[in-house]
Symmetry: C2
Subunit: 100 residues, 2 copies
Amino acid sequence: MSGFRHVAMFGWVEGTTTLQQQEIADRLRELPGVIPEIQAYSVGVNAGVNPGNYDFVVVADFADREAYLAYRDHPAHRAVVDQYIDPLVARRAAIQYDLE
Amino acid sequence: MSGFRHVAMFGWVEGTTTLQQQEIADRLRELPGVIPEIQAYSVGVNAGVNPGNYDFVVVADFADREAYLAYRDHPAHRAVVDQYIDPLVARRAAIQYDLE
């Protein structure tokens, strides 16, 4: 499989509710219907297996780097980040890489 | 798609070489041949698109949580972590989640 993958993990601020987290997941899951560059999109909540984990993750696949950048900078994506994610983020980890 | 996904990102200590990183990738990529519980295994190096990114990522898919735990605790996996990864890790971010 070739392509370009974006992975972002988030740890939420203390007091973040499961309802808030669910709303973020719901908003993100609307993006593949709005941003055609998204080829695959997986949103997940920490299963609680290991201590120290992050709370939330997005794994998104694109044809190439340019398609990822279209997603990154798309107004619909920015709106979710600005309105729902950023106010609750305590820590974030991200990477993008070429799929082989 | 159902299943259980493990994602781990690493940032290496200063001075880590691309050769060392490549050796880690090579060792990890041997694991699907040794640990039958691994259904899909993707190893990637930061593409350098965004500042602040982690350096390296593993995305691994399993049938369920138990299959992931078999991988996590498998001697072949532990050997790579202990001998190649741990000595170079400056920061690590991880999550496991149910695939929908």
